[in-house]
Symmetry: C2
Subunit: 347 residues, 2 copies
């Protein structure tokens, strides 16, 4: 523990994202004077190691947040709805990784590479966007700034770890069953809380989160609405189709964008992204170099490749965007927001 630092709480410390948050806080050497690890009743009592020290995870209650300065929430929307206001009441700044407050107009929705300054407007809660939104806006923001952005059409290729540890287990068990020629019963994916469950192993499922009345899924609407909010572009045309794949970790996105400038070359776009914060350009078709989920795991950056100009529209470009959905899509972006709070002297 640092002599000078902050009292940090992690809510959902035993989950897939919570574990990555602890790893990230440790690898970034975030200034922590006291660490409080919280969870639901089900996971309370579990032991977790942070910087070679063992912590016992405690049940999250309103009083758990006494003295906490920064609370990182990743224990589901209902936990955030119930406890984030309690944490704020006790003086904590909440960085919430659920969808509970993202579209609340009093809550900044932040990807530091895009809209770090929005953090200053917080009223206690700062929301971390949806994983598939985050990696896309990191790649789109440089285009918006440099050339103007008018239209985005994205098709996603999303990993099961976005649906939690149970979904990872289901993918592995189903894969083994199919390889063995054995039967199995889907129980988790595509959406744990929905009526029907389908095979994910060796399949592609065009449903992530529940369907809305307009025929889009909630995941698709998150990508559409959050992108507009983060980039402060309510007029941006955005469409999304979200698909779950038999991939453990690493979301990929096939993105078509139209920019306002009609004179930009593919090479200029590549150079722009190469020079952008949080982006690693992996784009050399002659050497078969492009991003893939299997290569992005454990890395904080957003990887972009397959950049090419549309054959019909001079202002249209296609690209392939890949990132570790548990890191930039969740844990790393949350810790980045905490680092911004420190840097901006807001905590």
């Amino acid at each position: 523990m640092e002599a000078r630092g902050y009292h940090v709480a992690v809510v959902g410390a035993t989950g897939a994202v919570g574990q990555q948050m602890l790893k990230t806080l440790e690898s970034r050497n975030f200034p922590i004077s006291k660490l409080t690890l919280l969870s639901s009743e089900r996971s309370a009592g579990k032991k977790v190691i942070y910087k070679n020290q063992e912590y016992t995870v405690q049940v999250a209650t309103p009083d758990s947040f006494e003295g906490v300065q920064i609370a990182l929430f990743s224990a589901g929307g209902n936990v955030s709805k119930a406890l984030a206001p309690e944490a704020v009441k006790r003086g904590a700044i909440v960085v919430d990784n659920t969808s509970a407050y993202r579209m609340d107009e009093n809550v900044p929705l932040v990807v530091p590479e895009v809209n770090e300054a929005a953090i200053k407007d917080h009223k206690g809660i700062i929301a971390n966007p949806n994983c598939s939104t985050i990696q896309m806006v990191v790649a789109l923001e440089p285009l918006r700034q440099q050339y103007g952005l008018s239209k985005v059409i994205v098709s996603t290729y999303q990993a099961v770890s976005g649906a939690g540890a149970a979904a990872i287990n289901e993918l592995k068990q189903q894969s083994q069953a199919i390889l063995n020629g054995e039967s199995f019963t889907p129980e988790v994916l595509p959406v744990k809380g929905d009526e029907k469950h389908y095979q994910i192993a060796f399949n592609a499922v065009p449903q992530i989160d529940k369907f809305q009345e307009n025929g889009f899924t909630f995941e698709e609407m998150k990508m559409i609405n959050e992108t507009k909010k983060i980039m402060s572009m309510p007029e941006l045309q955005v469409a999304a189709t979200c698909v779950r794949l038999p991939v453990e970790t690493g979301h990929s996105e096939s993105v078509y964008v139209e920019i306002e400038n009609h004179e930009v070359t593919t090479d200029q776009l590549k150079q722009l992204l190469k020079d952008s914060d949080g982006v690693t350009l992996q784009d050399d078709p002659s050497q078969q170099i492009y991003p893939m989920p299997a290569d992005c795991v454990g890395k904080n950056d957003v990887f972009v490749g397959r950049i090419r100009k549309d054959l019909d529209r001079a202002n249209g470009f296609h690209m392939w965007i890949v990132s570790d959905n548990l890191l930039k899509g969740a844990a790393w972006n949350s810790v980045q927001i905490a680092e911004s709070l420190v840097k901006l002297q807001l905590v």
Copy 2:
């Protein structure tokens, strides 16, 4: 064997598509008076069963086609280039499932639901389009006819069986190795003849076929150029991003289309596709009904779902198109063309 029928040859009879061709000829009870099964030297001598009768596969040579009336080729572009003209010279009509002749202006490129009449213009060879093109145009042609079509942007989710039996084995072996925590060396995918090979199990690889100078892959250019040719729409705006997935059989496509009519409702589009030849509508979000590759295997139809209007453009629609790439994408479409030859009295 039927008393009245045709002398049919299948070239590539032992391959993944060739096997499906034989199954399809049998299930359709295609009128065959004599069946000649051919292959490369490597596979010659293998035994194949058709209608409970054993055939020995022979090496394909020019003279193999003496007396053949219909020759179904699916043994790679080089075999077609070398032997299809020899078959034609000997009086056969060739239905070629490779890319060798697809863009030849003297060769009709046919999907019977779309442009069956083009068969009449054949000069000996009729080309079967690329698998990912076929299933898309079956779903797009009714829109073109009814409402006019102006723009198509597709992102594919393609199965490994499109790359042959070796790719299927690679997916299974890699999947098992990863589940066991063992190491492995990719040797087939993404493209057998390309320099580098990458993991396909639990991954998504944005390369199918080799890269062209414009940054698109050959597979993407096939989708773009073949779609325009089949629909006789050189002016149609088409863009494609093609991605290989850890799925054994069944290609999926996330397709955005713009039609010329701005007044069409989602329900009208669903009804249109429901009534279209070769299409099965699977589209009821309230019941989580949508197409998936795992459900399409072994079926001839093209399955369409997730149809919804774009939120920004009244003439824009999104849809999800799935089909068995070995059947409608290859064997079934080839046999359909053969059936059309009979129906149109061209053989």
